[in-house]
């Protein structure tokens, strides 16, 4: 991916495909478990056991059932012990994506999105630093392992991946941005294949932060697009995809899960934590992704929305979808799978990309659960129960603190 002033001009864009996917979420530890859970319309919220929530307003979240020991002998125990909870999930999902693509390591850039990174290790460091100056060796280890790039270096080492690493931290759009970056690297010919994804684990600082903002649903049950929705639920997880040029995938006989047809990114400068009420930046990203894909809104079979369940987000996104789709909006099928998993923050965009790929591959629509009465902003077809459907193209939205907005479009092979 290097630049030199002597480099030839950029090559024309070329087709890009996904040849592998992996996923860990509160619904399951691989793609098959997650697919079954989404098809069945399950959700996964439980009392938080990872840290003390006794003095918080809310005490539930979507938690991953993650083993303390490596799940198999292929992951060295020492490497597993050095990893924080989020990186362990990232490792499992990344490994699944590589295996799904029929690869075991190799030379490729790795692009990862995360928001909290290894914060639980930082929290341990902080708590100890407040009370004692002893155990300097342990504290040094924590300082080192707290750093996201150290965790990703270890991940790349375990997976035997050679190549530059890029860690994107655009809050809740990070995972989608990571896949978008990978798409551009491959599309422009700067890389043949890229491993891309996102992750975040639950941690006390972030949980306390959302609680302090009163952004969490007091009931612990998020109801995206419900007229009386009262907040989001947090979750944790990781999603990864192997992004590859169509030519490279064909040359090695790889299974093509989907094409990546378009990507849009824009910045909402309205407010640090609140989207523009009319969804201005979301409109830009949906329009630019569609323009890149050469598609009109009515050609999109399903939108996996950002859909957090907060009053402000869902209004902004609903307005953006209406402005984007125009008269076709009634035919646009939309759901928020955060109603089942919770909000996975930096991992959300990547995990929801994998959910979109599952929907595309298995031809069903995952649901927005827990909706009692749809909000008036829902001019679209809100999918309230999982159902079989013929889908050729899927769009997924991700929006984050700071105004990071991203849209990705995936299509079945030949759907461009």
């Amino acid at each position: 991916v290097a630049y030199s002033s002597d480099s030839p001009p950029p090559a024309p864009p070329r087709p890009v495909v996904v040849t592998g996917m992996g996923m860990v979420s509160p619904m399951g530890r691989d793609v098959a478990e997650n697919a079954a859970a989404f098809r069945a319309g399950r959700m996964a919220f439980s009392p938080v056991t990872l840290f003390d929530v006794s003095r918080q307003r809310v005490g539930t979240a979507g938690q991953v059932d993650l083993p303390e020991m490596p799940p198999d002998a292929a992951i060295p125990r020492r490497a597993w012990e050095r990893m924080d909870r989020g990186s362990r999930m990232a490792l499992l999902a990344a490994r699944e994506a590589l295996a799904d693509a029929g690869l075991s390591g190799g030379e490729m850039p790795v692009i990862i999105g995360t928001s909290a990174a290894a914060m639980p290790i930082g929290e341990d460091y902080y708590k100890q630093a407040l009370t004692t100056t002893a155990a300097r060796g342990l504290q040094l280890r924590r300082v080192e392992l707290y750093q996201a790039q150290r965790q990703m270096t270890d991940l790349a080492r375990v997976l035997r991946l050679e190549g530059p690493q890029r860690i994107i931290s655009n809050a809740c759009a990070s995972g989608a941005n990571a896949i978008g970056h990978a798409f551009h690297l491959v599309r422009s010919g700067r890389a043949e294949r890229v491993l891309a994804g996102g992750y975040d684990a639950l941690c006390q600082l972030v949980f306390s932060g959302f609680d302090a903002l009163q952004a969490l649903s007091p009931s612990g049950i998020p109801r995206p697009f419900d007229a009386a929705r009262d907040g989001l639920a947090l979750g944790e997880g990781a999603g990864f995809v192997l992004v590859e040029s169509a030519a490279a995938a064909k040359a090695r006989g790889a299974r093509v899960i989907a094409e990546i047809l378009g990507y849009g990114a824009a910045t909402d400068v309205h407010h640090l934590t609140q989207p523009h009420p009319m969804g201005d930046a979301a409109l830009i990203t949906m329009q630019s992704a569609c323009e890149m894909a050469g598609l009109s809104p009515e050609q999109i079979g399903y939108i996996n929305s950002h859909g957090t369940g907060t009053p402000l987000n869902d209004i902004a996104e609903g307005n953006a979808i209406l402005r984007w789709a125009g008269e076709a909006v009634g035919k646009i099928r939309v759901s928020s799978t955060k109603s089942a998993t919770g909000h996975l923050l930096g991992g959300a965009g990547a995990v929801e990309s994998v959910i979109s790929l599952i929907a595309l591959e298995r031809q069903f629509l995952p649901a927005s659960l827990n909706v009692r009465e749809a909000d008036a902003v829902c001019s679209f077809d809100l999918v309230r129960e999982p159902r079989d459907a013929e889908i050729r193209r899927v769009l997924t939205n991700s929006f984050g603190f700071g105004g990071a907005n991203a849209t990705l479009i995936f299509g079945k092979e030949g759907a461009a």
Binding site: S5, R150, Q165, V269, G402
Partner: protein, 338 residues
């Protein structure tokens, strides 16, 4: 297509602005530290740090900056200096589309420290104003809002090599025609948490803070990017091997007209890879971190700004800027004066 650096800005322990930093580097003397003290049990812990001098008047006036921690103010000042008034006016008028790429290692440690302290003491009293500022991309968001740009904005986290990854991404956006130009900014702030954390590696480190910004666009000069190689990952290379590879990829000519600006800090153990990789370099050489302290994420950005200033001074034809990060990459860039 040629990509040039056409604007720079810096905030460093030497002061606000590129000029103040270059004057400090010219002196070659390490800036005297101040000390952060705190109590821990019966002990008083004292960490030397190189802080940015308080000169608030130079911070751009923008409402969202009022509540931010120093990192955002540093970044805003460096960005405004790099862009200059004409470009800022063009962005505001909608005639120049500018992307923002922000690179950092630590981020908003002051507010993270305060917020988590409050959350541990009593979650019900933890400030909702502090929390959003703890997010890695908060400073970057403030920059886009300050210049009024809805163009893409990405925050990259990594070791001190991250700034070169940010430059690479900026080049990608410009080549693709996604933006007219791109601001690549890095900033860090210090407090006891980050200062003590760094000094766990070596008591000889001088933790520092600051910001640096460059503006990149398609142009022939005055300072062009000649080589911006892929960073060499430490996942499959030792730091020594990675530093050697970066030198080979940059291949600067050691003819006395090329300035080497390396990432050495004065802490021998950590400097060793670059010391070895460039041991036969006979040309002029500068190690800004030995003067400005270890700024972590911002260090390589300040090095790059210094390289541009040296080239513009006319004393050198090319400048090789390198860093061997702690735990991610070795990286660098070769710049040339037109």
């Amino acid at each position: 297509m040629s990509i040039a650096i056409t604007g720079t800005g810096a905030v460093s322990p030497a002061g606000w602005g590129v000029e103040a930093m270059m004057a400090a580097l010219a002196s070659g003397k390490t800036i005297p530290p101040s000390f952060i003290e705190r109590s821990c049990g019966e002990k008083t812990l004292r960490s030397p740090v190189l802080r940015v001098p308080a000169e608030g008047a130079t911070t751009p006036k923008f409402a969202r900056l009022r509540r931010t921690s120093p990192i955002s103010k540093f970044a805003a000042a460096a960005a405004a200096e790099a862009l200059g008034e004409t470009r800022l006016a063009e962005i505001a008028a909608g005639t120049r589309r500018v992307g923002v790429i922000f690179t950092l290692t630590n981020g908003c440690v002051n507010y993270s420290n305060r917020f988590f302290g409050e959350a541990l003491a009593d979650p019900a009293m933890a400030s909702p104003i502090l929390f959003p500022e703890t997010v890695f991309n908060a400073p970057s968001s403030h920059l886009s809002a300050m210049i009024g740009s809805s163009a893409p904005n990405d925050t990259l986290i990594g070791d001190s090599s991250g700034f070169f990854s940010g430059m690479d991404l900026a080049v990608e956006w410009i080549l693709r025609g996604e933006v007219d130009g791109c601001l690549v900014v890095s900033a860090e702030e210090t407090d006891w948490l980050s200062a003590e954390g760094l000094r766990h590696y070596s008591e000889n480190y001088l933790p520092a803070e600051g910001a640096a910004a460059i503006y990149l666009e398609a142009a022939d000069g005055p300072v062009r990017i000649l080589e911006l190689p892929d960073p060499v990952a430490l996942s499959t290379n030792s730091r020594e091997r990675a530093a050697e590879k970066i030198r080979a990829l940059l291949s600067p000519t050691d003819d006395g007209r090329t300035l080497l600006i390396d990432g050495r800090t004065g802490v021998t153990r950590f400097d060793q890879p670059e010391t070895l990789a460039w041991s036969d370099w006979k040309g002029p050489r500068s190690s800004p971190r030995a003067v400005l302290g270890e700024g972590m994420g911002v260090a390589a950005a300040l090095q790059t700004v210094a390289a541009v200033a040296e080239l513009l001074s006319g004393n050198f034809q090319q400048a090789a800027v390198t860093t061997t990060g702690a735990n991610q990459h070795a990286a660098g860039v070769l710049l040339g004066r037109v």
